[in-house]
C-alpha cells in the first residue's frame, strides 16, 4: 500500500459525475453527499480506481444527460463498470464501498425525502447484476458525508461536518 503524495491533487467528482484514475498523485473526492451516494471501486491488481456520485435511483428509461452521466443508479453503475473495464480493471475483482444516502433535512422531513434510502437499494441491486456486493457501507442517518478514494492505496475515507476522516 502506498500513501498519496503530500501534494496529491484532489479531483472533485460532482453531482452526477464519475471519475476514473490510475494516478497515485490524485485523490478522487465526492464532496457533500446528502441523499446522494458515492460509489467507490478499486481493482487491487490493475490499481484502477473509480468514483461515481449518484443522485437518483432510476433512469426509468430516460436518456442520461451528458452533463450528469452518473445521475441515476442504474445507468450510472453500468457506465462506471464500463469505464473501469476500459481502463484495465476486471469488474469481478473490484472492491466496492458505498457511502451517503442520508436524510439531511432532519427527521421531520425524512418521510418525504426518502431518496437516500431508495438510492442505496437501487445501487446494491445494480451492483448485484455485475456480480458485486459492497464490502463496506456507511449509509443513512441525517448527516452529509464527504467520500475520498485514494488511488495510491485503494483506501476510502468518509468524513462529516462533525467528524474527521475515518477509513471506510
Amino acid at each position: 500500500m502506498t500513501a498519496p503524495a503530500p501534494d496529491a491533487r484532489r479531483i472533485s467528482v460532482g453531482i452526477g459525475q464519475l471519475a476514473i484514475s490510475k494516478d497515485p498523485a490524485e485523490i478522487l473526492v465526492a464532496y457533500g453527499l446528502g441523499s446522494c451516494i458515492g460509489v467507490s471501486c478499486y481493482d487491487p491488481q490493475s490499481r484502477v480506481s473509480g468514483l461515481a456520485h449518484i443522485l437518483l435511483p432510476s433512469s426509468d428509461g430516460k436518456r442520461t444527460e451528458d452533463r450528469e452521466p452518473a445521475r441515476f443508479a442504474d445507468t450510472g453503475i453500468d457506465l462506471l463498470m464500463t469505464r473501469m473495464a476500459a481502463s484495465g480493471a476486471v469488474v469481478r475483482r473490484l472492491v466496492v464501498k458505498i457511502a451517503g444516502g442520508a436524510a439531511v433535512l432532519g427527521p421531520a422531513n425524512a418521510e418525504k425525502f426518502k431518496i437516500g434510502e431508495r438510492n442505496a437499494e437501487a445501487i446494491k441491486e445494480r451492483l448485484k447484476r455485475h456480480g458485486l456486493t459492497p464490502t463496506t457501507t456507511d449509509l443513512g442517518g441525517t448527516k452529509g458525508r464527504t467520500l475520498e478514494l485514494h488511488p495510491a492505496s485503494g483506501k476510502t475515507f468518509v468524513r462529516t461536518a462533525a467528524s474527521p476522516a475515518n477509513e471506510l
Binding site: S12, I15, L33, G34, R145, A161
Partner: protein
C-alpha cells in the same frame, strides 16, 4: 414558455429577496445588500460558492411550501455569520456564541421562519396564491449536501428543476446568507398559468 416563466419568477424573486433581505436587515440591525437573484434551470451546486465552496459547513433553516403550489425554501449561513446573527438577535456582544447550541438553533430557526416566510409571502402576493410555509427545520451540515438533497427531491418528481437563489451581503461585502427556493415540478405549470 420556460423563458416566460423564468422571467416572471425573476421579478417575483427580486421582490421576495428584497422583503427577505429587509427582514434579515431588521433582525441583524444593519444594512444588508441583496444581489439580484439568479433563477436558473439545472443543478445549483455553484450556489454553494457563496457560502464557502464545496467543503463549506453551514447553519440554516429549511421550510417546505404547501398550498396552491408546493416547494422548498432554504436559508443558509456560513457558521461564523450564523453565530454573529444569533448574538445580534439575542442582544449579546459579538463573539459570545462560539459554536452552535440549543439557543443558536432556536434563533436560526426563527430567522429562517421570518426570512423564508417573507419570500413565500412575496410569491403569494404577486401571483395571488395561498401558500403556507412549514415550521422551520434547523440544519447544520455541508452546504452541498443540503442543496443536492433538495435538487434530488425536485428532480425525482420528473420535469424541470427551477431553483432561485439570492445572496445577501453585509456593508463590508461579506456573505450574510444564501436563500434558495425551488418549486416542485408539478407546481411549475400552475405558476406558468397564474403568471401568464
Amino acid at each position: 414558455m420556460q423563458e416566460q416563466l423564468i422571467s416572471t419568477l425573476s421579478t417575483v424573486a427580486k421582490d421576495g429577496a428584497f422583503r427577505a433581505g429587509r427582514g434579515l436587515s431588521g433582525l441583524m440591525g444593519q444594512e444588508i445588500a441583496i444581489h439580484v437573484p439568479n433563477v436558473r434551470v439545472g443543478t445549483k451546486a455553484d450556489a454553494c460558492d457563496a457560502v464557502g465552496g464545496e467543503e463549506a459547513i453551514v447553519l440554516g433553516a429549511y421550510l417546505s411550501i404547501s398550498g396552491d403550489i408546493t416547494g422548498h425554501v432554504m436559508l443558509l449561513f456560513p457558521i461564523p455569520r450564523a453565530l454573529e446573527c444569533v448574538d445580534l438577535m439575542c442582544g449579546q456582544p459579538p463573539g459570545t456564541t462560539v459554536e452552535p447550541d440549543e439557543l443558536s438553533d432556536s434563533a436560526i430557526g426563527e430567522l429562517g421562519n421570518i426570512v423564508g416566510s417573507a419570500f413565500v409571502n412575496a410569491l403569494a402576493d404577486h401571483l395571488n396564491l395561498i401558500l403556507h410555509p412549514s415550521p422551520p427545520t434547523v440544519v447544520n451540515d455541508i452546504a452541498i449536501a443540503l442543496v443536492e438533497s433538495v435538487y434530488a427531491e425536485v428532480l425525482s418528481q420528473g420535469g424541470d428543476v427551477v431553483m432561485m437563489d439570492a445572496i445577501f451581503e453585509d456593508y463590508s461585502g461579506k456573505t450574510a446568507g444564501l436563500l434558495i427556493v425551488a418549486p416542485d415540478p408539478v407546481s411549475l405549470g400552475r405558476l406558468q398559468r397564474v403568471a401568464a
